[in-house]
């Protein structure tokens, strides 16, 4: 009986591992690969997706306490941007770009500032009161505040 009990243990651990891995893997899709950061003095703790969308489409230009909000995008080729755009704006990046091009030429609006790297984003957010941006999930953010996306 001692042999059979050992196989049972091995099976259980294997099953558990499989389950854990799959859970982990699945959680890897659910878990965003970006995080949203704001200026350190920003009082906001969380933001919902709809509001985020509005901010990044420049439809909402002020924080709740009426200070100006300065959104900043990663450059168009970035994966993180792609993730962010898919997730928050539920559109493709090219659709958003097209929207902004039309807005530029028609003179209606100016698109959010575009920066090339996470580090530049972080630097900008830290140095610009009211700024809001997104970086890859594990990028260092320094004194920038991370807020939750709901």
């Amino acid at each position: 009986m001692r042999c059979l009990e050992g196989h049972r243990w091995f099976g259980a651990v294997l099953t558990l591992l499989v389950i854990c891995t799959s859970v982990t893997l699945r959680a890897g899709h659910k878990t965003p690969s970006y995080k949203v950061i704001v200026h350190p003095t920003c009082p906001v703790e969380f933001v919902d997706k709809r509001e985020l969308l509005r901010i990044f489409l420049k439809k909402n230009t002020r924080w709740p306490e009426s200070a100006l909000v300065y959104p900043v995008d990663l450059h168009a080729d970035s994966d993180i941007r792609k993730r962010f755009t898919d997730d928050v704006m539920e559109r493709s990046v090219s659709a958003v770009l097209s929207h902004w091009q039309q807005a530029i030429f028609s003179g209606r609006a100016v698109p959010p500032l575009e920066l090339k790297s996470d580090a530049e984003i972080v630097r900008y957010v830290i140095n610009t009161k009211g700024a809001i941006g997104y970086v890859s999930i594990d990028a260092p953010v320094g004194s920038a505040k991370v807020i939750e996306v709901r």
Binding site: S98, Q101, I104, F105, G107, V110, P111, E114, K116
Partner: protein, 487 residues
């Protein structure tokens, strides 16, 4: 001043005033019409082209913007280069702006446009090259600012300013209104002035004519004592003056005539009276000689005395006729209803009785009446019928007619005979006193009868004339008063 002008001058002045008034009106009308036309031309030339230009230019601007966007969207640098052509076309369009657009505005617009199109171009290049960051944001903002400036200027300068257009039309309408009002006022003033002048002149003329009418009515009645009163210095005043002169002369003539007639009558009367006495003596004593000294006188002597008596008797006749003539001159005409036919018949009978040996055929139309002096008319008939009787003496079948004759000129009484007649060339001598167209040896007579008849006829306001042919008889026509004959 108008009063001192002659009628002719006044008429000409009114005519001249009318002419120049109308001329002035036409000129001012033309001026206002010109003004109106200018306003309308300004609208036509200035504003109408803008109807198209503004929208066309705006469309071109939009097309350029669109083209650059499309080039960026499609990531096509060649397409972006092509937009430069569009830009140049637009610059040309700006150069060909219609005159209604202020040239300064066009210059500014061109500058702004170039600024924007260059910035947009550079931005497009940057976007194609994938620029990003703060610099790109600045480029975007610059371009957008320039766009706002140029689009705004475009809207303000090359589009039809409706208020300006409305103003222009308002001006045109105002000009038209002014023209119409001016015309009316002008006409009114002209009419009033001319009417006033014509009334003044007309009043003068009518007044003068009225005065003349009254004056001539008086003259017609024979009253030349009061003059016609027309004051002033114009033709009417001259007319009045002339009328008064005429009246004065006629008055003088009348007086002279009256005087002459009076003298003539008294002369005739006294002469005939004074002539009778010696005549009575001549006749009387001749007769006495013939009766008492018949035996002492031989045939020749008696013949001579017969001749003396005949001559004396003839002279007596002459004197009687003269007296009759003068009496008819003094006599007045008392008109009554006279049956001329009966009168003529009576005279005819008298003739027949005076010489029963003669057989004269009398043709007297019956039922002829007239309004005349019976006594004087008798004298007329006695003379005319007596003459007819006399001058048909030599004709075996004498015919004497009396009747009434009508022709185109009117009605007249006539006495016609088929006797000796007369030569028409001496017709005007017929009615003169002592005028005879036949020798005394042919037909006796004093030559006064017809003068008397003529005078009586004239007193009745009628006229007498005769037609005749030698040896073919004569017809004597007379009227008694053209207006008042009754048959």
């Amino acid at each position: 001043m108008f009063h001192h002008w002659s009628l002719r001058q006044r008429l000409w002045s009114i005519l001249g005033l009318t002419f120049f008034g109308l001329l002035a009106m036409v000129i001012t009308d033309r001026i206002t019409t010109e003004h109106l036309n200018r306003e309308l031309a300004a609208v036509e030339q200035g504003y109408v082209p803008l109807l198209k230009y503004g929208p066309e230019l705006e469309a071109a601007f939009n097309k350029l913007s669109r083209s650059m966007l499309d080039a960026v969207s499609a990531q096509d640098p060649d397409a972006l280069s092509e937009t430069r052509l569009l830009r140049d076309e637009i610059i040309e369009m700006l150069g060909n702006a219609p005159p209604a657009v202020d040239s300064e505005n066009i210059e500014r617009l061109t500058v702004e446009f170039i600024s924007w199109s260059d910035k947009a171009y550079r931005l497009s290049v940057e976007m194609l090259q994938g620029h990003s960051g703060e610099r790109l944001v600045k480029s975007i903002k610059d371009m957008q600012e320039a766009k706002q400036a140029s689009w705004g200027l475009l809207k303000r300068t090359v589009f039809l300013d409706e208020s300006a257009l409305a103003r222009a039309f308002g001006n045109a309408r105002g000009a038209q209104q002014t023209a119409a009002e001016t015309r009316i006022i002008f006409c009114l003033i002209l009419f009033l002035v001319i009417a006033a002048l014509m009334l003044i002149m007309g009043h003068r003329v009518l007044q003068a004519f009225s005065e003349l009418l009254i004056g001539f009515a008086r003259f017609g009645k024979g009253d030349f004592s009061k003059p016609v009163l027309i004051q002033g210095e114009d033709e009417l005043a001259e007319l009045g003056f002339g009328a008064n002169q005429m009246a004065y002369h006629i008055d003088e003539l009348q007086n002279n005539l009256k005087q002459a007639n009076k003298e003539l009558e008294s002369f005739s009367y006294s002469v005939s009276h004074d002539l009778r006495a010696p005549l009575r003596g001549i006749d009387g004593f001749s007769q006495a000689l013939l009766e008492d000294y018949e035996n002492s006188l031989d045939e020749t002597g008696q013949h001579y005395l017969h001749r003396v008596r005949a001559a004396a008797q003839r002279m007596g006749e002459l004197i009687d006729d003269l007296l009759a003539l003068s009496r008819t001159g003094r006599a007045s005409v008392t008109r009554t209803h006279v049956d001329i036919s009966t009168l003529a018949a009576r005279v005819a009978k008298q003739m027949d009785d005076s010489d029963p040996s003669r057989k004269v055929q009398w043709v007297i139309t019956e039922g002829i009446h007239a309004n005349a002096d019976q006594r004087l008319l008798t004298v007329v008939l006695e003379n005319l019928l007596g003459n007819a009787w006399k001058f048909t003496k030599k004709k075996p079948h004498a015919q004497i007619e009396f009747g009434k004759h009508s022709d185109a000129e009117g009605e007249a009484y006539f006495v016609r005979d088929n006797g000796a007649g007369f030569d028409m060339t001496y017709a005007d001598k017929l009615f003169g006193a002592f005028q005879r167209l036949h020798r005394d040896t042919e037909f006796e007579g004093t030559g006064i009868g017809l003068a008397t008849v003529s005078r009586i006829i004239r007193k009745h306001g009628g006229r007498i004339w005769a037609e005749g042919q030698p040896e073919h008889g004569a017809t004597f026509f007379f009227t008694l008063n053209h207006a008042e004959e009754i048959s």
